[in-house]
Symmetry: C2
Subunit: 567 residues, 2 copies
C-alpha cells in the first residue's frame, strides 16, 4: 500500500466510515478460531473493521457464514486454456479469490516475453493472481522448447509487484546433483518462496532437496510421504485437480494422527473448466477434507491463512483490518458452496464478463513450424519396433516392442488399432519432426493435433493417415495454435488458442462449447473410451512421465533417460 492509499484508508478505519458493510454474518476469524456474529466494514477494496458499523450500502447476510476468500496455492492458468480474465470468471463464483500461478507453459513457448505477457494479462483483475517464476524451462534437454530460462532471465522479474518467488523445481535430479545452473537459480531465490515438486523423493535425497531451498510440495501421494515432507519443514499442498493421488488416505492420516494443519494448504495444479464448474474448486477440497474429519475451521484455514503465510502474502487470507475485502458467504459450515463472493469489496456476478487487459502481440502468432513434407512423417519399421502403449485412465505409458504393419517400402502404416504419432517443432522453424507409434488411442479415419503439448508445446498429432495428420498440423499453423480434429481432409472441430498456442481470449462460454465439440469430434473418430484423447495427446511428448514419450527429437525412454531412436 502506498502512502496515498494509507492516507485514505487510515481515516476511514479510524473514524469508522466504511463505503460498504456486510451486516449480520457469522464471521470466521482464522487467527483465533472463532465464529462471531457481527458486521464487516469495508472501504474501497479493504476491510477496515469487524464489529458495530453501518453505512448507506449494506448487504444483509442474515447470519450466513463469512470466511476469507480461498487461495489456490499452486495452479497453472494456461491449463485452463483461457486467459486470466476468463479464468477469473470461472474461479470467483467458486470462492477462490487468490491464486499462486506458475506460468510454466507460456514460458516454455515464449520465454521472458511470455512471462511479461501473462503478468500484464493478470493485472487489475478481481482475481488476485500471484506468480512463481518457472524454474525448469525447458523441462528436459531432450526436446526443443520455445525458450531457455536461466537465473539471469528470472531474477529481474522479482521486481514485479505480484511475483513471489521460484516455481516448482521439478528437476530434482539437477538439485540433488548440484547442477551449476540450478544452484544459481536456487541461491538467487534463496530468500524468497521456492516451490518444490518431488514425487516420491525421500530420505537423504529429500533432505538434500529441502536444504537446497524448495519449501512446498504438491506431489505427495500417500500419508507417509506427506509426513516425511512435513517433518522436513515443507508446506504440503494437498492437490485435487486433474490429479488427486492418495488424497483420502492423506487426509485420514492427518486426522488419525492429529497432525498440526498449519503447514498444510490446498491446490488444484490443473483442473478443467468444466470440472470446476460442476464440482467446485478449492471449496471442493475443503469439503473433501471436512468429509474425512478435518475440523471445518481448520479446513478453511488450510485454504486461507496457511497459504498466505506459506507464500508471505500479507493482506489476504483473513477477515481483519487492512486485509483485502475478499470473502465468501455460505450457509453450511460442512459443505461450503459460496452463495455470494466478494472480491476487492465488490459482490461477484457469476454471469458478468470480466474485461481483460489487451493480449500482447508478443504471444500471438506463436506457431513457427517449418513446412512438414509427407516424407518427414514416414517411419521405417523393423521387426521389433518400440511402441508407446497407453494405460487406461492414466497418463503413464508402457514401452512395448513388436512387429508393426508396413507398406511395400517397409514404412509403418497405421492399422490394427495402431496410430502414428508425430511431434513437430513449432517455435523456431527448425524442421525437427519426431515420429512414433502409439497404441491405445485408436483414431480411425482422421487425425487430432494440438499445440498444447507439455512442456515444450510443440505440435503433437496422432492419426491413422498422413494426409489428415498433415492437414491437422496445417489447421493449427493457420489459426495460431489450439486443437484440431480432421477427417477426410476436412476440419471437423477446431479450438483456436491464439495466445501462445495455449489459451483462448474468446468468451469463456465459447471456449467451453468448442472444448465439448472437440471431444465429440474426437469420439466420432472412434477413440478409446478409456481415455480423454485430447488430454492424453497433450502429455505424450513430456519426457519426464514414465515409460516412453515422443519428442521432436525422437522416441524417448524415460526409464533410461535415453532415446530409443532419433528422427
Amino acid at each position: 500500500m502506498n502512502a496515498s492509499d494509507l492516507g485514505n484508508l487510515i481515516p476511514a478505519a479510524r473514524d469508522g466510515k466504511p463505503t460498504f458493510v456486510i451486516r449480520d454474518a457469522r464471521v470466521i476469524n482464522v487467527f483465533t478460531n472463532e465464529i462471531v456474529r457481527t458486521n464487516v466494514a469495508i472501504a474501497n477494496d479493504t476491510i477496515i473493521g469487524v464489529g458495530n458499523y453501518s453505512c448507506e450500502h449494506e448487504y444483509n447476510a442474515h447470519g450466513a457464514y463469512l470466511a476469507p476468500g480461498l487461495i489456490d496455492a499452486h495452479v497453472h492458468i494456461e491449463s485452463s486454456m483461457v486467459i486470466p480474465a476468463s479464468f477469473a470468471k470461472i474461479l470467483l463464483p467458486k470462492g477462490t479469490t487468490t491464486i499462486i500461478a506458475d506460468p510454466h507453459e507460456i514460458a516454455n513457448v515464449a520465454g521472458t516475453e511470455g512471462l511479461s505477457a501473462i503478468l500484464s494479462l493478470a493485472k487489475d483483475l478481481p482475481l488476485d493472481i500471484r506468480f512463481m517464476l518457472p524454474s525448469c524451462v525447458p523441462s528436459t534437454p531432450f526436446e526443443h522448447s520455445g525458450a531457455v530460462l536461466g537465473a539471469a532471465d528470472l531474477l529481474p522479474f522479482l521486481n514485479e509487484p505480484n511475483v513471489l518467488g521460484l516455481g516448482e523445481v521439478m528437476d530434482y535430479p539437477s538439485v540433488v546433483g548440484c547442477a551449476p545452473d540450478m544452484l544459481e537459480k536456487l541461491s538467487g531465490f534463496f530468500s524468497k518462496p521456492i516451490d518444490g515438486h518431488a514425487p516420491m523423493l525421500s530420505g537423504r535425497a529429500l533432505n538434500a532437496y529441502c536444504l537446497a531451498g524448495p519449501r512446498t510440495d504438491h506431489e505427495c501421494s500417500n500419508f507417509s510421504e506427506l509426513k516425511e515432507k512435513l517433518r522436513n519443514g515443507m508446506y504440503i499442498l494437498i492437490r485435487i485437480g486433474s490429479a488427486a493421488n492418495g488424497v483420502l488416505e492423506m487426509l485420514d492420516g492427518i486426522v488419525s494422527e492429529n497432525l498440526p494443519t498449519d503447514h498444510i494448504c490446498f491446490c488444484t495444479d490443473d483442473k478443467h473448466l468444466e470440472n470446476i464448474r460442476s464440482e467446485g474448486h478449492i471449496n471442493h477440497i475443503i469439503n473433501t477434507a471436512i468429509s474425512r474429519g478435518i475440523r471445518p475451521l481448520d479446513a478453511i484455514r488450510m485454504a486461507t491463512l496457511n497459504p498466505a503465510t506459506a507464500y508471505g502474502l500479507k493482506r489476504v487470507g483473513a477477515i481483519a483490518p487492512g486485509y483485502r475485502a475478499n470473502m465468501i458467504l455460505f450457509d453450511d459450515l460442512h459443505t461450503i458452496e459460496p452463495k455470494l463472493v466478494f472480491a476487492n469489496g465488490n459482490p461477484v456476478d457469476p454471469d458478468a464478463e470480466i474485461p481483460s487487459p489487451a493480449v500482447p502481440d508478443s504471444v500471438r502468432h506463436s506457431v513457427h513450424a517449418a513446412p512438414v513434407s509427407p516424407e518427414q512423417l514416414l517411419l521405417k519399421a523393423n521387426a521389433f519396433m518400440p511402441i508407446i502403449e497407453t494405460v487406461p485412465h492414466q497418463l503413464v505409458t508402457r514401452l512395448v516392442h513388436r512387429a508393426v504393419p508396413t507398406d511395400e517400402n517397409g514404412f509403418f502404416i497405421a492399422r490394427e488399432g495402431l496410430n502414428k504419432l508425430a511431434v513437430v517443432e513449432r517455435h523456431h522453424e527448425t524442421g525437427h519432426v519426431g515420429v512414433g507409434i502409439v497404441d491405445g488411442i485408436h483414431v480411425q479415419g482422421g487425425a487430432i493435433a494440438a499445440t498444447v503439448s507439455h512442456d515444450s508445446h510443440n505440435i503433437v498429432v496422432v492419426g491413422d493417415n498422413d494426409p489428415d495428420m498433415l492437414a491437422a498440423i496445417d489447421a493449427l499453423k493457420a489459426c495460431g495454435g489450439g486443437f484440431a480434429v480432421v477427417s477426410g481432409g476436412e476440419i471437423k472441430a477446431l479450438l483456436e488458442l491464439p495466445v501462445a498456442g495455449l489459451m483462448s481470449d474468446a468468451p469463456v462460454e465459447t471456449v467451453l462449447q468448442k472444448q465439448r465439440a472437440l471431444l465429440d469430434a474426437a469420439r466420432a473418430l472412434g477413440t478409446n473410451d478409456e481415455c480423454d484423447p485430447l488430454i492424453l495427446l497433450s502429455f505424450l511428448a513430456l519426457p519426464v512421465i514414465p515409460e516412453v514419450r515422443l519428442t521432436d527429437c525422437g522416441l524417448f525412454d524415460v526409464t533410461t533417460m535415453s532415446f530409443l531412436y532419433q528422427n
Copy 2:
C-alpha cells in the same frame, strides 16, 4: 545460502556425510508436534538430516530432549549495557540463539552511523542477530536527540543481510493521525515485517493502526487486549523482561479459551544481565507458560517456529534439513534449563569469551555536551511548583504542584527529600539544559548521572547539591558516557559505557561487577528502597510515559503533551 555453500552442503546431505552428530536425543519436531528419539546430523553450521547417521565427532545426548534454539522476538541490545558479543555470551547458555533486535537506542545517539556500527558489531557472532530498523528517532519532537531518521535514511539498510523490517512503531498517534513522514516510513516498509507497539490501543484506532502496517505487538497487558489484537491478525509477543505486565492473566486466558498459539511468540524487550543470569531468558518465559497450562510443545513452538514465521526467517526455528544447527538440550520437558546449547553446530562454552568485531570509532566519544555553568542548574521557584513524583516499583510518575524550599534569591534548593533533576543535551553541544524537581529518589549528599537516558540519551543527573551534579556530568563527559555516582566532589562509582554512551566493550564480568558497585554507591547515598534509582533515572527524560518528564527543553506534561515550563 550462496551457490558455493549449496554446492558443499547438498552433497553432504545427499550422501549422509555429517561433520558432527548429536546421537540419541529426543528430537522435538515443531512441524508435526512429535518427539522422536533419534540422531541429528550436522555439516558445518547446518542440519543435514534427522535419523540414522554416524560420524567421527559425536555427542551422545543419552535420551535428553533436543529443541530448536530459542528466539527472542523483540529486544534492545543496548539496554543490556554491553556490546553484542558480550550479550551473546550471556544469552547463549540460556538457550537463546536468535534475537530480533531493535537498535533504537544507538540510533538516537548516532543515527545511521549508529545503525551501521551495531550491524558491524553483530556480524559473525555465534548469536544470530537480526534487526528491525528503529521507526521513531527521535521518539518525540519535545527533546533533542543525536539524530533524526526518516524513511530515506532507513530504507537503504534493507539491503543489509540481517535487516528484516521496521522496528516498533511507538508513535501510534502519528500513524492514526496520518503524519506524512510516518506514512512514508510505513509505505516504504509495507511489504516487510513491521513491529507494533500500541499499549491499550483498541477499537477503531487499533484497526487503523493494524491497517497501516504494524503486525506484531509486545505491549499487551491483559487478556482482552491480547485477544483483540490477535483477532486483528497481530502476532502477540508475550513479554517477560524488565516489564511483564499481565502475563499470567494472558497465559491463563489463552489456556482457558484454548486459543491457537501459532500467532503468539515470546520476547524480553529489556532484561538486565544479572536477571538473565539468575532467572533465564526466553526459556524462563517458556517455563512460565508451561506452568500456567500451555502444552510444552506449544510453548517451545512459541519460542521457535512462531517467531521465525512472524519475521520471515527461513532457516531457524526448527530441527530439519537446511536449518541452522542452533539447538538446546535439556532433561525436563516442563522446566527447560539448557544443559548444552549448540550454536551454528558448535557446543557453547558458557565461560568462553566471544571475540567481538572492532568497535567503530564513529560510536566512541559520543558525549558532546557544552560546558554547564552553575547558573544553568538554577531553578527559579514559585509558590505552586510542578514536581515529578515517582511511584514505588513503577516507571510512571505523578505530576504534583506545591511550594518548595528556596534560597534567598528564590531558587529551589534540594531539601526535605526533594532532589534536583537536570537533563543536559549531549549530542551537538547546543547548551540546552532542562532543570526540574523530583520527589521519591531521595539522593542525599551527592548526585547520580547517566548518559543512558531514554530515548534521546542526553545526560540526566539527579542530586541534592549542584557541585556534585556538575561533577557527575563532568565524570561522564570525561569517560565517554555511562553512569556515575558522586559524593563530596568524589567519584564513588563509575560504569564507563564508551560505545555511544550506552554500551561497554569491557569483559562482561567487569561490567556486571561495576553495575553492582554502582547500585551499592547509589544506595549509600540513601536512595529510596522502593525503586532502582539507576533504572528510574534512565526513564525520567522519556516524554511518552505518564505523567510528567524532564527533557533538555524543560518540564513536560505527558498527559497534555505540552511543556509546563521550558528552560
